[in-house]
Amino acid sequence: MLHEADSSPPALGVGLLYNAALTDFVRTNLTAFDYISITPDLFWVDRGPRHTERYEELESWIETLDWVASRCPIVSHNIGLSIGTAAAFDTAYLEQIANFHNRYQFLWHSDHLSFAQVHGKTGDLHHAGMAVPISYDEEMLDLVADRVGQVRKKIAIPFLLENSVYFVNIPEQDMTEVEFLNRLTSRSGCRLLLDLHNLYTNARNHGFDAFLFLDELDLDSVVEIHIAGGDEFAGMYTDSHAGPCPEPVWELLDHAISRTPNLRGVTFEFHFSYYPMMKEAGVLAQLDRARAMWSSRFSGN
């Protein structure tokens, strides 16, 4: 059961994570999705914490966002919170997300259970070059739970964290990923963005049963599900968002969708560079298949 101080959002259906290749698609296929998920970070340039006017909006992107926002529900999928960074928490970034929420009235917002910022030799925070998974330790649980509290206090809509992909296994962790997620949601009140492709990627690379993972996870806390594709890179399977979802991700969605009572949306995401391969019909096919599963949730099929 959702136990947010913030209000519970309505069940939306099937959504699409906006990317640079979708400008025309969203305008001509407005009925093909029930909501749009946006990554606010793509709509501005971040000049860094030392600049007084740190964020500069990208006009052409904002124009599309304004158009979409006036026509369909929007949720936010941030990439810059870096909630697991040990050294500092970027409250100016949080302020910026809050400003964007005030403007666009997101139904919920999310970020990743990882860190992407780190202190360097100069003492300033800089980007790690990738989202680095956190270690599932008590100390990290304390840190993330505290920051979730700050986020929820600042922005009064459900805040979701996404399960990460990891390519290395950090030894001697205090708990498993599932234990960490269950304890985090229970303690902090954050919800889960369950990325089934990330789960599939980890299960495939590290040889565990993704269905068992789902059975152990507190699925009551899942508000959004991400589905995507991936491919092999440097000897492992990666979450590259390379086109359509592989069949095992659909199987995981089929399994999860009837077991997530607070699910509000299933979002398909892909990397913009794969649009020429998928084309409009390819994207629509993914949305249609997700919608059929979403509908089956209510019909009991």
């Binding site: 040990a86 980007h127 070059g129 390519f167 030894p171």
Partner: protein
């Protein structure tokens, strides 16, 4: 609390396969650079042995190469086999990135300019193609509507001025190779050498609209606009000023501004 040291070490390792190799060879030497617990040390020694660390290092490079490759495609094509080495050299000098596309590309552009000046990059087509793509990107990230609004509001105050500057959303570029054919061949990803006409060519880049427009202009106009751009401001006769203002290529400047 050693989490900070552990995260710094992880990020340094992800950014440098060389450091991973060094850690495998001399763990104490590498790990002594960070404030770490015994468990952190055991973890770091273990993770660099895992095949997934190669993936992490490759993803770091792919993520940092993405803005460069997406926004400077022709430059990257001309760099050919030297692209990766140049990128690694660039990253070695610019580790603490914010990973903002425009900043990455501008700084890589400055880096390449230096490499060209030093004679390390000698492809004769590279300087002009690089400047062309950097100029296009400058307009791509420019606050176009804000600039246009600012110009509109400054119009009355500058209406009597004969001092002009190039419109901030207009640029001219000089080429010594026929640019249309050059860019066409690069778009088709045809490898040099090319048979291109040599001479003095001028291209006008127009960032006033939603898409950046390009067109070839005459040598005479190109030189004039190039001179205005180089001088920042130029005083011309009234008729010439009117012609340039009416064409939208130049704007009046406030006297002494």
């Amino acid at each position: 609390m050693t989490m900070r040291g552990f995260q710094q070490a992880m990020c340094d390792l992800v950014a440098s396969p060389e450091l991973c190799g060094h850690l495998l060879q001399s763990p104490e030497e590498v790990l002594s650079r960070y404030e770490l617990s015994d468990r952190d040390r055991r973890r770091l020694v273990e993770v660099v042995r895992q095949p997934g660390m190669v993936v992490n290092c490759s993803l770091y490079r792919a993520n940092r190469l993405t803005p460069i490759y997406n926004l400077l495609p022709h430059t990257c094509f001309l760099l050919g086999d030297t692209l990766m080495n140049e990128a690694i050299e660039f990253w070695n000098g610019f580790e603490e990135t914010l990973l903002q596309f425009n900043e990455e590309v501008e700084r890589f552009g400055d880096f390449l300019r230096r490499r060209i000046k030093l004679g390390i990059q000698r492809n004769p087509l590279l300087p002009e193609v690089l400047e062309y793509e950097l100029a296009i990107n400058k307009f791509r990230f420019a606050p176009r509507l804000e600039i246009l609004a600012r110009l509109e509001s400054a119009k009355p105050a500058a209406s009597q001025s004969n001092l002009i500057s190039l419109h901030p959303l207009i640029r001219v570029l000089q080429f010594s190779y026929e640019p249309s054919k050059l860019l066409e061949l690069l778009s088709e990803q045809r490898s040099p050498p090319y048979e291109l006409a040599r001479g003095e060519f001028w291209m006008l880049l127009d960032g006033r609209g939603e898409e950046v427009g390009t067109k070839l202009i005459s040598t005479e106009i190109g030189r004039l606009l190039g001179a205005i751009e180089a001088e920042s401001e130029m005083s011309l006769g009234t008729d010439d000023v009117e012609t340039l203002i009416e064409s939208g290529l130049a704007v009046r400047s406030l006297q002494g501004s």
